[in-house]
């Protein structure tokens, strides 16, 4: 990886980042996918999507016809957000890792959209010295009361602690997780799931003693 290659590759990165920013400022910014209430309905591809993502989407569409991915390219961070049905998550995850080359699970976050819970996986390809040209984020909707989601620990081992954390703070149980236990909250915590929007802190408020002066 000589210096010139790195320089022009870095220059390309700067242009892409600047372009993404400019486009985001121009467009109403923000992927339509996370439309708040409806969610997942955003059909339009948002601002212009680089062709590399288009090829990826076509391949994905061919592989899993029956699935409506509702892809939305988010110019703000360069991620392509796709909705993945809960029951086919494992297949799609294996496909993404092996065939699409997304070998790095960056972040696994839980989101509470009032009417449903959602698990978001941000994926990238870590390749020495190359700019990640494919950034994909899987959004998996999970029912609020029956919160169960297949575990991806054997696909990306980094999901281990992250899934335990989402289980601890959101209450989404991950089937197939080797030892699904509390990780952050104390073992005897009975107060429900803190990160859910309807969480009410039951602990008695300690009133600070302020001497009247």
């Amino acid at each position: 990886m000589t210096d010139e290659e790195r320089k022009d590759q870095a220059a390309a990165a700067a242009k892409a980042a600047a372009a993404a920013k400019a486009r985001a400022a121009a467009g109403e910014g923000g992927g339509a996918a996370a439309g708040g209430e409806g969610g997942g309905d955003g059909g339009d591809a948002g601002p212009v999507m680089p062709e590399r993502y288009q090829q990826f989407l076509d391949a994905l569409g061919k592989e899993f016809e029956g699935v409506d991915f509702a892809p939305a390219y988010n110019a703000a961070d360069g991620f392509l957000y796709i909705n993945v049905p809960r029951d086919r998550l494992r297949e799609i995850a294996l496909y993404l890792r092996d065939r699409a080359g997304l070998n790095y699970l960056r972040a696994l976050s839980g989101v509470d959209w009032m009417d449903r819970l959602q698990v978001v996986y941000h994926l990238t390809r870590v390749e020495p010295d190359t700019r990640p040209e494919l950034l994909v984020a899987m959004q998996v909707d999970v029912d609020r009361d029956q919160a169960v989601c297949p575990s991806l620990v054997d696909v990306w081992p980094t999901a281990d602690f992250n899934e335990r954390e989402v289980f601890d703070l959101f209450g989404i149980r991950f089937e197939g997780h080797p030892n699904l236990r509390r990780i952050l909250l104390p073992d005897n915590w009975q107060g429900g799931y803190p990160l859910r929007k309807d969480f009410v802190d039951k602990r008695p408020k300690r009133q600070r003693k302020i001497r009247p002066r």
């Binding site: 600070r208 003693k209 302020i210 001497r211 002066r213």
Partner: protein, 159 residues
């Protein structure tokens, strides 16, 4: 022969390490004797927010608008506005309690104050025996403002 130059390299590395500590012996110490010598603080060093006193009138600049209380993340400022006999607002704080037990000295209250009534003093010695004394009222804040040259830095100005 491998062992020999291993030993030689090991010995050399150990000796060089010792030279570093030997040189260090003759350098002046870095620490100061704190209670006797105070650390020198640059202008604008953030100790605690204090209430500014207007030079001529001797009054507080604060008009009890409560903007600082709303912009404080841990919510450690409590402002009560003074109202005179028939309930007209006097635009002056009856009580201004700043709980230094909760304050994380983030300078947001000073940036939020439209009347230039709050400044950051470099007073970092706020240890008390009883946690209740961590709550400073408006007179204490004014006195601290007097003996520290507090400063207001916000919005990208040059220092």
């Amino acid at each position: 022969m491998g062992v020999l130059n291993d030993v030689a390299r090991a010995a050399k590395s150990i000796v060089k390490g010792h030279m570093v500590t030997l040189r260090e012996i003759f350098k002046p110490p870095m620490t100061i004797r704190y209670p006797d010598e105070k650390p020198e603080q640059p202008k604008g060093s953030r100790g605690m927010p204090v209430l500014k006193v207007n030079a001529e009138t001797g009054e507080l600049n604060c008009t009890a608008c409560g903007l600082c209380a709303r912009s404080c993340p841990p919510g450690c400022i409590e402002v009560i506005e003074e109202t005179d006999a028939n309930g007209k607002r006097m635009r002056r704080p009856l009580a201004y309690n700043l709980d230094m037990g909760k304050c994380m000295v983030c300078n947001l209250c000073i940036e939020a104050c439209p009347f230039d009534a709050l400044e950051m003093a470099a007073n970092f010695e706020i240890s008390v025996y009883d946690p209740e004394n961590l709550v400073f009222n408006k007179d204490q804040l004014a006195t601290i403002w007097k003996n520290y040259d507090a400063v207001r830095i916000a919005g990208g100005e040059k220092l």
